[in-house]
Symmetry: C2
Subunit: 185 residues, 2 copies
Amino acid sequence: MNYCPECGGPVARQVPSGDDRPRDVCTSCHRIHYQNPKLVVGALPEWRDRILLCRRAIAPRADYWTLPAGYLENGETAAEGAQRETREEAGAHVTDLAPFGLFDLPHVNQIYLMFRGRLTSPALAPGPESHAAALFTEAEIPWNRLAFTVIEDTLKCYFADRTRGRFTLHTGRIAPGRWVDRAPP
Amino acid sequence: MNYCPECGGPVARQVPSGDDRPRDVCTSCHRIHYQNPKLVVGALPEWRDRILLCRRAIAPRADYWTLPAGYLENGETAAEGAQRETREEAGAHVTDLAPFGLFDLPHVNQIYLMFRGRLTSPALAPGPESHAAALFTEAEIPWNRLAFTVIEDTLKCYFADRTRGRFTLHTGRIAPGRWVDRAPP
């Protein structure tokens, strides 16, 4: 941040009085502009014994497979955001959403909240951010072509829970960099 | 937002190409400045059969009681944020945090994530944002002097779970305005 979004004055990185960390402070109107983590909401959409995945059409990790997920928008509930992402990325409607995974990614200032849910139809229509959308059995999951660690971890937790017949909330911290040496698809 | 935080140019509210909702777009450098909900993290700190509450020293709802909670900071995990808020507001250390409540407040663009946890000591030292911090049994909870609906709901869920002997993750959408006619403390 270089300029104050309110008054256009120059911004400096300072520790405000009574605070304990540097913030973007306007040197003209003295407003403090806080930066906070973003919440990524997503779905684990089930159709019978299959799971919906989308092949990304955009960076980062274009052409790799992912669960529908994206930034929560103002005015939405978290579950509504996960439904919207599923609609936007796969043209599908997911219902009966239950929190399934809560993952911290502090190195990129993100929290992922993944919901398990049920597709109301197997008909898919990938949107502009997806090259493809498809339903996979456990044996068909493209484990070495998944876009992100958090997606791999979510799917592993899901199939482990499904095998033992009980779903719980999973939490974890996702470390950076696990994908660096992964071969491209 | 009136000015672009990057280049200082004037910002206009526009629906970007390929998007479906208005954003703050710089008319000079054309950057899109997204606004997203904030995550509030908090703790339900237990000491034997008591719960820690803080009496707010700041607006809104000064002098009303609340659980330690506040905006998650960049670089933190959600549980670390809840621990920091407990330290800042009550001078206390809470450990063994488990997700307990996930509440949507879409009318104020917030998601609350509340963790149940255990205090390592009953010694409290309220910080600058608290007039007081104290430990309450269920019978002592000041129900008509609680600061926010989401705090009341979290506590109700907690004592209901404790009574039946099993804690689960609670979710809900908090409606606006339930406090408007509430008498001041």
